[in-house]
Symmetry: C2
Subunit: 180 residues, 2 copies
């Protein structure tokens, strides 16, 4: 059901600025959080997210040095907001939000089967001053079977915007981009 996604295209999942779900696991206990502060930083599969001790998942992520970063479609917006407004300290969020955890290949954190894309990541650095965690994606997956293909962007005030009209400027930008 999940199809491998090329690592050299992983930055294109992060660059548009979608809402992300981030899973962690320690022993049998898994958790998931919603992240809206993230950034592609190059054409490599390395990118940054901002998180910290205010997220229950943070400690496990830093201890295990692993996580999965998933890209939900717009159909999951209610779940993404629900995940972001309760805590893994007292809630099994996979159960509460009816999300299917699938075994990842390179990390112990689970994939989220309902998401459009899943990136298995290793924590490669932590810029403590700004709470920036640098993640390197080591394996990525696409779920080609979701009818809803639009991702969602958080505005930060409780409103969100889904992907709309598409523009193709590949020809105009060819000189600036790596071959994908």
């Amino acid at each position: 059901m999940l199809k491998e996604y090329p690592l050299n295209r992983v930055f294109t999942l992060v660059e548009p600025g979608p809402v992300l779900l981030v899973t962690t696991a320690e022993g049998k206990k898994k958790n998931i959080m919603t992240i809206t502060w993230s950034m592609a930083m190059s054409f490599s599969p390395t990118f940054g997210i901002v998180t910290g001790a205010w997220n229950h998942s943070f400690e496990v992520m830093m201890k295990t040095r692993q996580c999965v970063v998933a890209v939900p479609g717009a159909d999951l917006i209610g779940k993404a907001v629900g995940i972001g407004t309760c805590s893994g300290t007292d809630t099994d969020k996979f159960e509460k939000f009816s999300l299917s955890a699938r075994k990842a290949e390179k990390v112990k954190a689970p994939l989220v089967a309902e998401c459009l894309f899943n990136m298995e990541c290793e924590v490669s650095d932590h810029i403590e001053r700004y709470g920036i965690v640098i993640l390197e994606c080591v394996r990525a997956w696409e779920n080609p079977n979701r009818p809803e293909k639009r991702t969602i962007h958080a505005v930060g005030d409780g409103t969100f915007v889904a992907d709309g009209e598409k523009f193709d400027l590949r020809r105009e930008m060819a000189s600036k981009l790596p071959p994908l």
Copy 2:
């Protein structure tokens, strides 16, 4: 024509991940570049962009410690791509792309009148290892007169997506957000 925009809402301009235009000035020479790697990092008007010596504007930004970060609407996508694929070393990009530079209040870099929003910024830090420049917005402006309100998101492969359907989950998120 430009209306002051509250600093405590500035992070909401960056968080959704729009394509940004960044202006700099040194003496009478001004320049503008397109940035697609950026990130809100908190609810403050401080955010990060990724740039480096490969951008002609970078040296001036680091020397003057100032820039303006502008948010173009989807109607400016052709200009944003054009700006991103030529160099200020040999081109007056404001002239080439018919953009109107307006005097900013707190920095010497110019505002871009045709953009939806302009953020006057000071460079507050530089994380050299990743090319992350930390900017603090000290004054912000809105242009309420542009008919095109949609911003654009770069996918990174030469395609772009404009803002589409909006979702209002302010009630569900009230517990997690500062009052705006």
